[in-house]
């Protein structure tokens, strides 16, 4: 199958560049605010892993299933997009899993198995910190920084003080917790506590307790933003979990700007017949 180059360009713009740990452009200085800290403001990353492409023939796809794979195609148009990799194997091969206490692994496996019914985000619950990843847009001002997120359960924002104040102790637990931030050199370190336990850390049954403590680190170099996350949860982990870091590019495409979120409503949970999940 030939994929038109124009379409590939769209693909690169929408998907690829969001993931590549791009080398900091040497000729792009990191913008700074009046107080000398890096200015993290901007629209960061891609726009949802969606892309458009055209091909000159029909195409079809094989969808991995925990059921026995069946090499059939309804139209007889098998193409290179015929996908045959097993999602379970992919998950099993992931070397960076949260370090759950051994006696909790059976529970994690069970949650993983029942993910398509039990994962809170499948029912449109907020994904929370840190599952929703880095913000899509950052607005930085004196003493405060605002993180804005786009997720399918909804658009969320976090207003975080950067003036050195301590955590509040008068708040109930919540999806995004209570966050305070400080500068360590040119890295903004965001400390998060006060979480509820209605979020997971991933779709593999990675639950956590209200004792979860998250530290996020943001480092801007030119037009790239490095995002790193460490998760502690003494109730369920044997040691802190360092999630794989990500490098995001500044995104100046006005079409990728945040827009209002459609209502999230899971209408078809009753039709799920097996344990398949992503």
């Amino acid at each position: 199958m030939r994929v038109q180059s124009v379409a590939l360009g769209i693909l690169f713009a929408a998907v690829c560049c969001a993931q590549q740990p791009a080398a900091p452009p040497a000729n792009k200085p990191t913008p700074r605010t009046e107080d000398g800290h890096p200015d993290l403001s901007g629209r960061w990353g891609g726009a949802g892993g969606f892309f458009a492409f055209k091909d000159d023939e029909g195409t079809h796809i094989y969808l991995p299933s925990r059921e026995a794979p069946k090499d059939k195609d309804p139209d007889g148009k098998l193409r290179r997009y015929y996908l045959q990799v097993d999602g379970d194997k992919q998950r099993a091969a992931n070397p960076n899993k949260p370090p759950y206490k051994p006696d909790l692994l059976a529970k994690v496996r069970q949650l993983d198995r029942d993910e398509n019914k039990l994962d809170p985000v499948v029912q449109c619950h907020p994904p929370g910190v840190p599952r929703m990843g880095p913000p899509a847009r950052i607005v930085q001002s004196k003493g405060w920084i605002v993180f804005m997120y786009v997720t399918e359960p909804g658009n969320f924002s976090r207003l975080i003080p950067t003036d050195g104040r301590p955590h509040r102790t008068d708040l109930d637990t919540s999806y995004n917790g209570d966050s305070v931030a400080r500068w360590e050199g040119d890295t903004l370190v965001v400390d998060d506590t006060g979480f509820n336990d209605d979020t997971w850390l991933g779709s593999d049954g990675w639950y956590h307790s209200e004792a979860m403590h998250v530290v996020e680190r943001f480092t801007r170099e030119g037009d790239t933003l490095r995002y790193e996350v460490t998760v502690e949860d003494p109730e369920v982990f044997t040691q802190p979990w360092v999630r794989p870091g990500r490098t995001l590019r500044l995104n100046t495409n006005p079409k990728d700007e945040i827009s209002d979120a459609p209502y999230c409503h899971a209408v078809d949970a009753d039709h799920i017949v097996n344990h398949d999940h992503f």
Partner: protein, 148 residues
């Protein structure tokens, strides 16, 4: 008739790992729909629910016995439609479309996942939109729903 085809796709798991807009409210296609039970028909749009994580489309389909079958189609997320150029206003009630879809595994009558649609009336008459789950990575290799 003008015939334009739009193939567009979404890389669910790719979005999980790669993009700043996470996509993760989806269930797996294979948990609910059967790729071996394709169905093709022509119908008239009666309603549309522009929900995350799946747009829902409702159609009246003329059955052989003269009756009207009420069809319910599930599609991808609104972001897929938006970025592919498929707008909810295009599917105003009364719009005629040809549909290819995959039936639900649980046996629910007239419930299926939308694979593609071709407009048979209105301003988009003749335009074809292909909606499928998957995509390519930067090397042109498939991205598939099970990938992290």
């Amino acid at each position: 008739m003008r015939l334009r085809t739009f193939y567009f796709s979404f890389a669910i798991a790719g979005a999980l790992a790669l993009a700043a807009f996470p996509v993760f409210a989806h269930h797996s296609f294979t948990a609910e729909f059967d790729v071996e039970k394709p169905v093709t028909f022509t119908g008239t749009v009666t309603g549309l629910e522009y929900y995350n994580p799946h747009v829902q489309v409702y159609l009246d389909v003329a059955a052989e016995d003269g009756k009207i079958d009420k069809w319910h189609l599930e599609s991808g997320p609104p972001n897929q439609w938006q970025r592919g150029g498929l707008r909810k206003a295009m599917l105003a009630p009364g719009t005629m479309v040809k549909i290819r879809a995959y039936r639900a595994k649980d046996g629910t009558q007239n419930f299926a996942f939308l694979r593609d649609l071709t407009f048979l009336s209105g301003p988009q008459n003749g335009t074809h939109f292909e909606l499928w789950i998957g995509g390519l990575d930067e090397q042109g290799r498939p991205i598939y729903p099970g990938q992290k």
